[in-house]
Amino acid sequence: MDVVINGERRKVTSGTSLLDVLGELKLDPRAVVVEHNRRIVRRPALGDVKVKEGDAIELVHFVGGG
């Protein structure tokens, strides 16, 4: 099924969790903050939240800035 991750349409396995999505992208859950349909999902809950068709996921981190 299709979801939108950081503005890009991507295919993920049906019934997958946010933690699985991070795993597929080879991202360390400790190094990113996850927003799921505009709601922040805390790290301990990432495995519990299932992703649905059309969901919007934002994965952010700190970059250089002033």
Binding site: I5, N6, G7, E8, R10, L25, K26, L27, A31, V32, V33, E35, R38, I40, R42, E58, L59, V60, H61, F62, V63, G64, G65, G66
Partner: protein, 265 residues
Amino acid sequence: MTTAVEIIRDEPLTIGGRTFQSRLMVGTGKYPDMDTMVRAIEASGAEVVTVAVRRVNLDRSKESSVLHFLDPTKIFLLANTAGCYTAADAIRYARLAREAGFNDFVKLEVIGDEETLLPDVAGLLEAAKVLVQEGFKVLAYTNEDLVTALRLEDAGCAAVMPLASPIGSGLGLLNPFSVRTIKRRLHVPVIVDAGVGTASDACVTMEQGVDGILMNTAIAAAQDPVAMASAMRLATIAGRAAFLAGRMPRREVAMPSSPTRGMLD
């Protein structure tokens, strides 16, 4: 070597319950490479270091998190809401930044104009109120307007950050009178943020009596960022020392330094 630091009697800077020895804060953007950034931050002596919140690059062929190069146990990470043009966006970015788990401080920017990057003070106040309610320690980037600064303090901001001149302009402190007035009237720390171009700008800014100064481009875009970071460290200390020492009054006419008596006939 005797340094000014040993001679001046100064108090540490306390913002939102956190105490810092250095009055210079630096950004992490626009460096030619990460190694230069790390060495420049070290040379600046800054304890507070700003970072921005952005999307992770999914193909990860390009930039990685700035945290690969900074040790959050040694520096104090201050996340900004740079690039946000509405209160709602700034609030969203601040919440994401806090979720990273380092602290509840945020350098709040709500930009109102793309060309000048001047703040949208209405949006800024709106966002500040919400974030203060949510327990954030808000350091509000604003213009040099006293009334806005007073409103931000009333809203519960932990510090108010008037600009010296527009972000990245390097024009230096354009309105010392307004910045001095803000410092005189506010109780929370006043940190001048943005617009410094070189060490003399930092020195003049600190001579106004403000509590600190934050800069990024002046260091990152210098030909030798590490050397400029060192110059900025010294200039910040010098300006602070001069402020504490209390300058002589200005005069419109000269007054000789040497005795006028005892001259030969």
